[in-house]
């Protein structure tokens, strides 16, 4: 459009030299201004090819010249349209019209030369005509009127073109230079030199608006425009070469920069263009500070390229953005006096201070925010890429690029003493590393060493195309990330920084990553201690959703880790929560699970999709499910055997029991297909004490190949299965035997003597099994403890009484508010008992109470009680069924996973209890 108002001026080709001298004049007149104008023109021109075609309907006030000119343009448009539909009739009309208009234009402008636009249309028509004539078949198909028009057109054009033959040939030779000449003429025509700039600015904004129209109309057109502009830009750079660099001063660049920035976000500002414009400005920036300032704007403009929250930044832009950030770092590392700050608005001419300026130079900018944004974009791009494609892998390989950037930013911040921000950056790094096992980490390290060389080469090539920048920035900061040998050292280094300086959220996230990573490396106890010490379980539901997801992931990994190291109860404790709601996918953000009862609004769905983990970070769900179910099986099968008579009483894993019920209800059981079937088949075998079959079924699962030390884990699993089979067997059949030899048991379950002895002894001590050893013969002798009906009822009565007392106490507690000096531990025990399913827990309570309050009292006999009294003499069974897995086992699962840290134990226990509320509910919190 700008060109529109320039081209009207004259139709003749003015020579370049004159134009050049014009420039020089200007320079003399207005100091630094011309170069700015020059720059501007360049941009203007960059768009004129496509903007020429749209017309400036928006312009309200138009000069006569303009009007004429606009008419001509619209006619040209009509011609184009007609050409598209092969409509020769209207083409002929338009041709006549444009000829008439030409006369008018010539009259108004008093020019000798024919406007360029006209020539263009002629050339276009001619080409089209030749094409149409060549296509005989199409010609035949034409309607009569159309064919007629074509013929007459052919003759008219021939006649007409003869007049302008010279110009046409010239145009054909170099259409571009023609246009350039046009531009030059503008300046020529503008008599008033000083006005040029004001008008330029107007033109600029006009251009913006129209550009916007174009964009709105047709996105593709915009894209095309961008490409063209690129080529233009290069050409312009050539031009820049010819100019003396010294002509460009700080003021010029600054002014231009302000202009471009002011256009940001305005309707119609081409996002890509702005990036280009700014990138160019960085090359001509005069001082490092200015360059820095402009670079910051480039980066922000690059962020702007991607509209909306859902899409991600184009990958090439992302890469350029990273490179820009690195250059920024180069500058700030090299010029130590430059302070990057986003708190205060720097002075107007702050960036004028040169490289040799003493004292601090303030530049607005926030490196951390930029870095975080880059990370987010990276994450988003991975989210939206199909993980099974090459693209995804390629994208993943950009990770070291980000890591090096983060590393440098962190270094910079640490040097500046801004540890708080450094902690934030460190967290970003942690979040890229924490889920990587050592092998993956090594692979990344190697990759980063290899690829960096190639990348650098690319960058250089790109650089060399442009003119040499005024402020040459040597690569000060490392372009290669430095990784410590093991991922653990890296994690330790980063998290210790975060723990020291980070804010609460950063610390919590880092802690979770740390836990995850420890769990990944099979360091269960460390991970568990970290979890319990950090008290994250208590307040995780107050944190944001993505942290909650991270928490769930850490818990899942912790569960897997516990399983790998053979801690079945702990593993089950960690995983059961995740599986209690059947929404494990959602909880881990690894896919959307459909809920039957709860329709999600589109808004919720979108939010959920945004939270999804990229594929490479996923925890294998099959493995997770297998581990969960196997843990549940190992705990539940003996439990079921112990409580055959009142199965409703104690459930260790509700999920598992439900699945088992379902599979038992089936009339036919086919061979196992999925993970669940396998575990169910194994369970059936284990209930019968058939440990070999049980193990074989589980072994046949192919998920085990995902484990690092598959053999070790399977070996562990086998021995666990054997032990549980032994326990199940004893619990189920002890009633039928009077005694059983150790030898026999050993052979039956293929266990060592010590192991068998230990397992049986444990059961005796825990009073799951009413038996004792006969040492000389090495036999287990079973004692029969049977109660009469009346006695059984009496026990039930006492049980109910204690429940009553308990509920009274609780009512008192909640109603009266405080004041209860009941021991904390006991209260927990009660809660637990309650959550566990109502009654039946009195024994435990009794134990707790005895343990806490009674101290040694009542069993001062200790030893005298026949050895048994030591562990709670009164606890003799009243009913074998419910007694067998008494306090002991509950102790195990409530405390083994958590009991250690007493202060934290309640939290853990609590979280085991009401998993549904503790576990993060994504939907409920869906509107952050």
């Amino acid at each position: 459009m700008a060109s529109k108002f320039w081209t009207q001026a004259g139709a003749s080709d003015s020579d370049e030299e004159e134009e050049q001298s014009e420039y020089e004049d200007e320079i003399e007149d207005a100091g630094g201004d011309p170069s700015a104008a020059d720059a501007k023109n360049r941009y203007l021109r960059a768009t004129d090819t496509d903007s020429d075609d749209d017309d400036g309907q928006k312009r309200v006030v138009k000069s006569a010249k303009d009007k004429r000119f606009d008419e001509m343009t619209s006619t040209l448009e009509q011609i184009k349209n007609a050409m598209k539909i092969n409509d020769w009739v209207s083409l002929l009309e338009s041709f006549d019209k444009i000829n008439k208009q030409l006369e008018k234009v010539m009259r108004v402008t008093e020019a000798v030369k024919v406007p360029n636009l006209y020539i263009k249309s002629l050339v276009m028509l001619e080409d089209f005509l030749n094409q149409a004539m060549a296509n005989k078949e199409a010609k035949k198909k034409m309607s009569t009127s159309n064919a007629k028009a074509l013929n007459s057109m052919k003759q008219k054009l021939k006649k007409n073109n003869k007049q302008y033959e010279e110009l046409i040939n010239k145009y054909r030779e170099k259409p571009e230079s023609e246009e350039e000449a046009d531009d030059d003429e503008d300046e020529d025509a503008d008599d008033d030199e000083s006005d040029t700039f004001a008008e330029d600015v107007n033109a600029m904004s006009d251009e913006d608006e129209e550009e916007d129209d174009g964009k709105d109309d047709d996105q593709a057109e915009g894209e095309g425009g961008w490409e063209k502009m690129m080529s233009k830009k290069e050409k312009l750079m050539d031009k820049q070469f010819m100019k003396d660099p010294s002509e460009i001063s700080w003021d010029v660049v600054n002014k231009k920069f302000k202009e471009v920035v002011a256009a940001r976000g305005r309707k119609g500002t081409g996002r890509f263009e702005q990036v280009e414009q700014l990138t160019f400005l960085t090359k001509v920036a005069k001082t490092p500070a200015q360059k820095l300032e402009i670079l910051f704007s480039v980066v922000s403009a690059q962020f702007d390229v991607n509209p909306g929250l859902n899409g991600h930044m184009p990958i090439n832009v992302w890469k350029k953005c990273v490179v820009n950030m690195l250059v920024i770092l180069d500058i700030v590392f090299q010029h130590r006096n430059i302070v990057v700050d986003d708190m205060v608005e720097p002075e107007e001419n702050e960036t004028q201070k040169g490289a040799d300026h003493e004292g601090p130079v303030r530049v607005w900018g926030n490196l951390v925010a930029f870095l975080e944004r880059i990370d987010v974009e990276f994450f988003k791009s991975l989210q939206s890429t199909d993980p099974h494609t090459r693209e995804y892998v390629d994208r993943l390989q950009d990770e070291p690029m980000f890591l090096v950037l983060a590393q440098n930013v962190q270094e910079y911040l640490e040097r500046g003493g801004d540890y708080k921000a450094a902690a934030k950056v460190a967290l970003r790094r942690v979040e890229l590393v924490y889920y990587k096992p050592q092998e993956v980490y090594d692979a990344m390290r190697k990759l980063s060493e290899q690829t960096e060389g190639g990348d650098n080469g690319d960058d250089k090539a790109e650089e060399s195309r442009g003119p040499p920048a005024f402020v040459v920035v040597p690569e000060v900061v490392a372009r290669k990330p430095t990784f410590p040998e093991s991922s653990r050292t890296m994690m330790d280094m980063l998290v210790s920084l975060i723990y020291k300086h980070g804010d609460d959220r950063t610390k919590a996230r880092a802690m979770l990553c740390d836990i995850y990573h420890h769990a990944l490396l099979d360091e269960f106890s460390i991970a568990r201690d970290l979890l319990l010490m950090s008290h994250l379980q208590d307040n995780i539901q107050h944190l944001d959703i993505s942290t909650q997801i991270l928490f769930n992931r850490a818990m899942a990994q912790l569960g897997l880790c516990a399983f790998r190291v053979g801690l079945i109860t702990e593993g089950h404790g960690c995983l059961s929560e995740l599986y209690s709601g059947g929404r494990v996918k959602e909880l881990l953000a690894q896919g959307v699970s459909q809920s039957r009862y709860h329709e999600k609004t589109p808004e919720q769905e979108r939010l959920e999709r945004r939270r999804q983990m990229p594929y490479h970070m996923h925890i294998n769900l099959e493995l997770l499910e297998a581990v969960h179910l196997i843990c549940a099986m190992l705990l539940e099968v003996p439990n079921m055997a112990a409580n055959t008579h009142d199965s409703r009483r104690r459930l260790i894993s509700k999920t598992f029991r439900r699945l088992l019920d379902i599979s038992e209800r089936q009339t036919f059981t086919g061979p196992p297909e999925n993970v669940r079937d396998h575990v169910m088949a194994a369970t059936r075998a284990l209930t019968k004490g058939d440990f070999t079959k049980s193990f074989e079924v589980i072994q046949s699962l192919d998920i085990w190949r995902l484990l690092k030390n598959k053999e070790g884990v399977l070996e562990m699993l086998k021995s666990k299965i054997k032990e549980e089979a032994l326990r199940t067997y004893l619990l189920t059949y002890s009633l039928s035997y009077n005694s059983m030899s150790l030898e026999q048991l050993m052979n039956m379950f293929d266990l060592s003597r010590a192991q068998t002895h230990s397992v049986v002894s444990k059961m005796m001590i825990n009073e799951e099994l009413y038996a004792s050893w006969d040492q000389p013969t090495e036999c287990v002798v079973f004692n029969d403890v049977e109660y009469s009906r009346l006695q059984g009822l009496a026990f039930q009565l006492t049980e109910k009484l204690s429940v009553l007392a308990e509920s009274n106490e609780r009512a008192m507690e909640s109603g009266g508010g405080g004041g209860m000096d009941l021991p904390m531990r006991r209260r927990e025990g009660q809660d637990y008992a309650n959550a566990g399913g109502g009654g039946g827990k009195w024994q435990d309570n009794y134990n707790q109470q005895g343990g806490r309050q009674g101290g040694g009292g009542g069993r001062s006999g200790g030893y005298g009680g026949g050895g048994r009294s030591g562990q709670g003499g009164g606890r003799g069974g009243y009913n074998r069924g419910s007694q067998v897995r008494g306090g002991g086992s509950r102790y195990q699962d409530s405390s083994a996973y958590g009991g250690a840290r007493r202060t934290a134990s309640s939290a853990v226990r609590g979280s085991q209890m009401d998993g549904s509320t503790r576990m993060v509910s994504l939907n409920r919190g869906g509107h952050p």
């Binding site: 106890s525 201690d529 010590a754 002895h757 230990s758 444990k762 005796m764 001590i765 004792s772 050893w773 006969d774 040492q775 000389p776 013969t777 002798v781 004692n783 403890v785 109660y787 009496a794 026990f795 006492t798 049980e799 009484l801 204690s802 007392a805 009274n808 106490e809 008192m812 009266g816 004041g819 209860m820 009941l822 009195w842 009794y846 109470q849 005895g850 343990g851 040694g856 001062s860 006999g861 200790g862 030893y863 005298g864 009680g865 026949g866 050895g867 030591g870 562990q871 003499g873 009164g874 606890r875 003799g876 009243y878 102790y891 083994a896 009991g899 250690a900 840290r901 007493r902 202060t903």
Partner: protein
């Protein structure tokens, strides 16, 4: 033997001066070469002001009469500093040594300060000097002097931070002078402060607790009747937490205390769990012994561990005096658990398990049975011990269960009563 030595792990949590007794003990035990210990001693002394002592050690270590120049210089320096401190603290010291003047002090701290300021011209500066002087005395090894001054300083000091460190100093001095009774008092005072004081950071608090526990080892294992106190202290939730997080080696001492005090059964079960949890971070024969007996029921293993425990106890300065008691109780532990799960045991095997010969074992068991500590009979014909079957009476059980109920109801009722007048008043 040296493998189970905890000195390197304990020492960092002690005051320099407190490490000396440990090193002395190690020297006696000949666990490490003499030279190493002497070097360690010099190392220790370098930071203290006991330069003369350091010189002596240096002489005996290198068997020379020459003393390094820096030691001599340091000695001069120390003496000079002592002089200057003495001077600045002189007015207050003089005042404190005058019994009639001391009589004038009252319980009111503010009044005392005022009075000192008005009548003796003793201001905060002098009081501060007293602290420095006391500290210097301590550094020089004059513990009794330091203890006295610190005591008086605490009476006058207003700065709580200073007061706390003075208390630590006092405790160290008392421990080094082996005034166990006073030391226990100081210990409790310190514990109160640590527990009540809102520390700047929880980390700090944990660290203080750990120090306190380490220092208390000296007291508890040397002072009579205090083996239960160590359980009281260590087994508190906060302290147990501190042990688990930062100083798992202290579990050994707690385990020892538990084995010796069999009265503490109720807490013992919890403690076993702790040991189980901490197996990954710390184990030594004593905790392993407990794990064998109470977790794995591996009696052969337990027996082995017991032998190892013996060695450990020999090499452990603070628990050494309790060795016999420890072994006796450990034996009892094994027997008790063993008997619980057996109905018939061969005497020979039992004797083996108890690390006794047959005769002794029989005598020992008979004694237990006579004291009705063991419900069993000996069958000499087959050479076995037969446990009396122990099935708790159903009625007893019922009574047990309901007994607690009435207590709880009473409590509930009384609380209700307490609360209702309060509410009525409102």
């Amino acid at each position: 033997m040296a493998t189970y030595d905890l000195t390197p792990r304990i020492a960092p949590n002690l005051d320099r001066h407190l490490v000396f007794p440990l090193l002395e003990f190690l020297q006696e035990q000949q666990m490490y070469p003499d030279e190493e210990i002497l070097k360690a001693k010099i190392e220790l002394l370098n930071k203290t002001n006991m330069v003369d002592y350091a010189m002596d050690i240096h002489k005996s270590l290198y068997r020379t009469e020459d003393v390094p120049q820096d030691m001599i210089e340091r000695r001069v320096e120390v003496v000079a500093r002592l002089k200057s401190l003495e001077e600045s603290a002189a007015p207050l010291v003089a005042f404190l040594q005058n019994p009639s003047a001391v009589q004038e002090l009252r319980a009111d701290k503010q009044y005392n300060l005022q009075m000192l300021n008005d009548r003796y011209q003793i201001g905060p500066d002098q009081i501060e000097a007293l602290y420095q002087y006391a500290k210097f005395q301590f550094e020089c090894g004059n513990y009794s002097g330091a203890a006295d001054y610190l005591y008086q300083y605490r009476a006058l000091c207003t700065n709580s931070e200073r007061s706390l460190s003075a208390l630590w100093g006092k405790l160290a001095a008392e421990v080094l002078m082996q005034n166990w009774v006073v030391a226990v008092e100081e210990l409790n005072r310190l514990k109160e402060i640590i527990d009540s004081k809102s520390f700047s950071s929880p980390l700090n608090q944990v660290q203080s607790r750990i120090w306190l526990m380490h220092w208390s080892l000296f007291i508890f294992f040397n002072h009579d009747n205090d083996k239960t106190q160590i359980i009281d202290l260590f087994n508190q939730d906060k302290y147990l937490n501190a042990i688990q997080t930062s100083a798992p080696h202290l579990l050994r001492y707690l385990a020892t205390a538990f084995i010796i005090n069999k009265r503490r059964r109720s807490q013992f079960k919890d403690f076993i769990r702790v040991i189980q949890q901490e197996q990954h971070s710390y184990k030594d024969p004593i905790t392993e012994f407990l794990a064998c007996v109470f977790v794995n029921y591996d009696f052969d293993g337990a027996q082995k561990k017991m032998k190892e425990c013996e060695e450990v106890e020999d090499g452990n300065g603070s628990t050494m005096p309790l060795r016999d008691e420890f072994l006796k109780n450990a034996r009892l532990f094994i027997l008790e658990t063993y008997c619980r799960i057996h109905q018939r045991i061969d005497m020979g095997v039992l004797a083996g398990k108890l690390n006794m010969d047959y005769e002794d074992a029989e005598r020992w068991i008979v004694k237990r049975i006579r004291n009705s500590e063991l419900d069993a009979k000996i069958d000499t014909e087959t050479g076995t011990v037969i446990m009396e079957p122990n099935h708790p009476n159903v009625y007893e059980q019922l009574i047990e269960h309901t007994k607690s109920l009435s207590g709880r109801t009473y409590k509930l009722a009384s609380q209700l009563m307490e609360q209702s007048p309060a509410q009525a008043a409102r």
